[in-house]
Symmetry: C2
């Protein structure tokens, strides 16, 4: 973090320090902003997960997410379904059964009601599919030029089912790293739509609620030690966050070849010069499970739509204990998988 | 609702139907949008309060609000403290003790970190004062020109303390209508700041958390039958919403002269040609209590900062049962207090 002061100093901002797109990337700059500003101001902020465990009789999970995706309609989904999937998935990743959602709209003056109806209908279908209820909401409108059609915030509450919540600290050396399906589709679907690039066959976002997959793991007796949905920053960000979030950092080694990526997705990524490992999915997650259960977990995940290519992609090794993620090639060379820095694809969710 | 089809038809929007500023006003258009679009799509949406009662072991309250106030800094507060007060107050109005808050930022590229720090510090002070915790958050950044510096969503969870939750259906004929302090300060403070109008003495927003006032009522043995914070649309909107929200609508009659408004606030309202009854407060609420407890309620409220002018402003009468709010003057004439229509002051919260 040598460039620390360039982007988000601990205190004392100059009149020239500004928010950059990087601060919304989910990568390094976002982390710095969270740790140096928000975590200091909000001492109860739970920074290690995408939600918070709260107590109200029993342990509940609480999470929030704003959605600013551009374009709002994309192949395979829209900002409405995405805003339900994102919050449902954050709850599922905490080992919770998602129950209640709130929805808050920031609409831009001039936004088509027809489009809003389509989005709301799409949210309605998504909550039904996920088995959750939208119970409260809010609507604000800003003047033309002060928004971008529609921004949506969803917050969610779930009941924690896991006897011990999934947590990076529960990972052991030897645990297998599993991905719940092929990755990077969402990011590449957005980029193809945004730039009008026609791919054959077209790329559809993987945006989906993953709570049913997660629950089926529990039903099969598999209690993942740790789970993380693969969103902004892709597999790289998810693994780096986990490797570092532990009180004693770990070394995660993956095999890049074993990470499932569809040919059309890989093709567009190459065309745009981006690494599929850095690209967001919105219906996929990584889990850590003990080796004896790994195959069973993969088979369970493969039964769900989008999970056909679920696979073991790596394991936790004992070599480096500095919060490192590496990829070993078939030929034996090993490279570091860095936390994505800066903004790769702005407004992907 | 004769102009129904002009603004928000039940179905089948034309390509020319658009979102207008009215849809964010909290008035008629907002109500239509909620009832005709959102309530249909989200059958579990609880439209009668600003939050939702949820069950998780015991009854909890859940609410959400986005804040788009312009300007973000105003006399007496900023978007940060306002975003805490607003959600804390929504929970308090449900008879709940506010406990946990989430915060989600939508930041515009180029926004000053210094300003963000000021806002976050202000939120930090507000949560401390209200006795709540911010436990989870999210940050998104949009490109310059697609936001307005900063928008904040806060969602909140509280524990319902009232044995029977306050609810319009619990109001009886003869109940007194009480206001917790002088009104319309927030709206007029925003307008003075936005338009650079200098008032002597200056108008400061009343933005504040009201949960401690509410709890002190309960502690004093006063369980308000119904409560409503006076935000967008002012006293007029709050009373009209309550009069109509009942399964059997009621007639609320107030005395306009008894509604406390500071001289400088009234002066600016006259200058701008707006009715103080339509103007937002952000730290005031209306409650309905039985006549024998009304005076005690007023005395309890007067002990809190901003509550010095708490007063009985009206009562529930038996004359009209069509969800009517009227004001009777000292001379005996009576006028209807309508639900504000259209956008009076955009982006007041």
């Amino acid at each position: 973090m040598t460039d620390f002061n360039l982007e988000c100093p601990v205190t004392g901002y100059a009149n020239t320090d500004v928010i950059t797109l990087s601060h919304g990337s989910g990568g390094e700059s976002t982390q710095r902003l969270i740790m140096n500003m928000f975590a200091k101001a909000f001492p109860n902020l739970q920074t290690d997960t995408d939600g918070a465990g709260i107590l109200c009789g029993r342990t509940m999970a609480f999470t929030t997410d704003s959605f600013v995706v551009d374009p709002i309609f994309f192949p395979g989904g829209d900002i409405g379904s995405l805003s339900v999937h994102g919050t449902v998935n954050d709850l599922a990743m905490m080992g919770a059964k998602p129950l209640y959602l709130s929805v808050a709209f920031i609409l831009e003056e001039g936004f088509l009601l027809k489009d809003l109806q389509t989005i709301v209908t799409s949210m309605s279908a998504a909550v039904k599919e996920a088995g959750v209820s939208i119970v409260t909401g809010d609507t604000k409108v800003v003047e033309k030029g002060h928004g971008h059609g529609i921004y949506i915030n969803t917050s969610g509450i779930g009941m924690v089912l896991a006897p011990v919540a999934p947590n990076p600290d529960r990972i052991h050396v030897g645990d297998k790293v599993i991905i719940s399906g092929d990755v990077a589709r969402h990011g590449m679907a957005i980029m193809s739509a945004r730039n009008g690039i026609e791919i054959d066959p077209p790329i559809f976002s993987d945006s989906a609620s993953i709570n049913r997959s997660v629950m089926s793991l529990y039903d099969a007796g598999i209690h993942p030690y740790c789970m993380r949905d693969v969103t902004r920053g892709g597999v790289s960000a998810a693994l780096n966050e986990i490797a570092r979030a532990r009180s004693t950092p770990i070394h995660i080694r993956i095999s890049e070849e074993s990470v499932p990526v569809e040919d059309n997705v890989r093709g567009l990524a190459e065309l745009l010069g981006v690494d599929p490992l850095h690209i967001a999915s919105e219906g996929r997650f990584i889990l850590f499970a003990e080796p004896t259960l790994a195959k069973k977990a993969v088979n369970t995940l493969r039964k769900f739509p989008g999970g056909e290519k679920a696979a073991i992609i790596g394991e936790v090794v004992a070599e480096h204990t500095s919060g490192l993620v590496t990829a070993k090639s078939l030929l034996g060379s090993e490279k570091i998988i860095y936390m994505p820095a800066g903004e790769i694809l702005p407004r992907i969710c």
